[in-house]
Amino acid sequence: MATILEAAGLRKRYGSVQAVDGVSLAIEEGTCLGILGPNGAGKTTTIEMMEGILAPDEGTVTFRGEPIGREFKRKVGIQFQTTALPEFITVRETLKLFSSFYPSPRPFDEVVDLCSLSDILDRDNRKLSGGQRQRMLLALAIAPRPDVVFLDEPTTGLDPQARRNFWDLVRGIQAEKTTVVLTTHYMDEAQTLCDEVAIMDRGRILERGNPSRLLARHFRGALVRIPRGCVDGDRVPGKLVADHLEIQSENLDKTMRELLAAGVNLEGLSIHKPDLEDLFIELTGSSLRN
């Protein structure tokens, strides 16, 4: 597979904040990359530089080997984290307007169908609910039938059903070989949709790779968690995470026996298969930060 989009050494500074501090990413055609990271990590800044919306202080972005420019704009679909829509015009008109900008847009009815817009087509943009608006913005991103779609927190504000629909939609456009770059705060979403995730914090990429392989690299076996109150002192190996003690265990039998031997009250114990959220917390230490 070929690299479709490549960012090299991106940096962006706002006053005293180094929002992005040397990010390099190569994205394979047809894959889905998820950028994860705590608030203010620099995700939006990074993808806006990759979209060509924001000029980087340093670094370059290339699309199929060429620096991004006019041609690139015809090939990308973008959903910003926050966008205003023209006022006083309806969803239908907005969609037609944006579709008219592109050489071979997706048929109107198809977009309406994919993003479940049929009920709100004649509604004024200003009168959409948060989730309806989100679906509308998504429609604007996929209407151009782009080669690359950037989605900045596309499911924030969606109800669980709409979120599942969104997942189906992303899988659908992936089947058409569309490359997807998305940011999200939902780890289950990243795990289901993304072929690769990049975990960012303070403007840098901490880890990047396939979710399962990343988990395999960072965790062995299962995570055993015991509420902090049930353990006393350092008689048990493990580390304190938030309000509980967490033990990585490759052999649950053995761990249980050790815990019982140490006289730990197993009442509140839970066993957990490590997921991206655990990795996220481990890497960014976000619950401990601030």
Binding site: K73, T83, F88, F101
Partner: protein, 338 residues
């Protein structure tokens, strides 16, 4: 092309559905025209003015002459004023009578308010015994005839400056422009679509306002509609271009609002919207001549009131054209999406 049409359509719908702005653009000038026509419908000044071609005969300066009575006023026109030009003033009711001692005749406008009075006075005046009466015709110019080009010009100014300039700044501030920047649309195409939409709206509202008030007030119209439309079109383009200069990169609606008020106030005062600048200091007149609205309104008045043709208004049209081109060049050099 389709993209362009869709953009023009979207912007136009945005305007039409914004009911408040829409009706304000139509209603405001109509109210002004009717209001002023009502306020100034009473009789004008009581004195009559007599224009004299060349030097006045001595007999007229004697106290026995009717021209010596209080309300009368002489205006002596030197040789640089042609007879026809002075007679035109009589036709437009700027003068009530013209004396031509050279040909021993006096002229009256048969439609003049004071014509029959002046005829009797002249007949009784020993100094004019040998004079023959000649007449011209011409309907009086009411203030509202003079005012209507000003009000429509003012409406064009507001509608273009705020409709193009202010809206663009709002788009920039709330992120609509950023969203458009992410599409293949060029800034030039987008801005042109905005301007074309506004052009259509403004030319249409101007025609509606004019026709609507004309139905009741029957304005004086001496010249051609084509000339009037040409002036309106160039006036609109020049005001839009000015609006684009303001909107090229500002992000703050408050700031652009302030700047536009700063620009519109002098134009309101110095472009002769509500009152003529004749007789004001030269410095004000030269400032006035540098304002595009002055040329648009002045040319429209010349066409409507004096029947000026394209030849006479060409300098004004040229000024508007050059002003627009310069402003557009400046705006496109300054323009930023964000």
């Amino acid at each position: 092309m389709k993209q362009f049409r869709t953009m023009v359509y979207a912007r136009t719908m945005e305007f039409v559905r914004d009911r408040g702005t829409f009706f304000w653009n139509l209603l405001f000038p109509v109210l002004l025209v009717f209001g002023f026509s009502f306020a100034f419908s009473g009789e004008g000044q009581p004195l009559f003015k007599v224009g004299v071609l060349g030097s006045p005969p001595a007999a007229l300066e004697s106290p026995a002459s009717f021209l010596a009575i209080e309300q009368g006023r002489f205006i002596v026109y030197g040789p640089e004023e042609s007879r026809e030009a002075v007679l035109d003033r009589l036709r437009r009711h700027e003068l009530d009578m013209v004396l031509d001692p050279g040909s021993r005749s006096y002229y009256l406008n048969v439609q003049g308010r004071n014509a029959s009075l002046l005829r009797r006075l002249a007949a009784a005046d020993p100094g004019l015994r040998e004079y023959v009466e000649r007449t011209v015709t011409g309907a009086p110019i009411r203030y509202v005839d003079w005012l209507v080009p000003g009000v429509i010009g003012m409406n064009i100014m507001f509608s273009c400056l705020f409709g193009v300039g202010f809206v663009l700044v709002r788009y920039r501030k709330n992120g609509v422009l950023k969203r458009l920047k992410a599409t293949p649309v060029s800034a030039a195409a987008f801005v042109t679509a905005q301007a074309v939409s506004r052009f259509l709206i403004v030319i249409l509202t101007s025609v509606v306002v004019f026709a609507g008030t004309n139905a009741f007030l029957r304005f004086r119209m001496e010249g051609s509609w084509a000339a009037l439309l040409a002036i309106a079109a160039l006036g609109i383009v020049s005001m839009e271009a000015l609006g684009l200069v303001f909107a090229a990169r500002l992000r703050s609606e408050e700031l652009v609002n302030g700047l536009m008020n700063l620009a519109t106030l002098p134009m309101l005062a110095l472009s002769g919207v509500f009152f003529s600048l004749e007789g004001s200091p030269d410095i004000l007149k030269s400032v006035s001549r540098a304002l595009p609205l002055t040329h648009a309104i002045g040319a429209a008045r010349a066409v409507m009131l004096e029947g000026a043709g394209f030849g006479r208004i060409a300098p004004d049209l040229l000024f508007l054209g050059i002003f627009s081109a310069a402003a557009l060049a400046l705006a496109s050099a300054l323009f930023r999406w964000e």
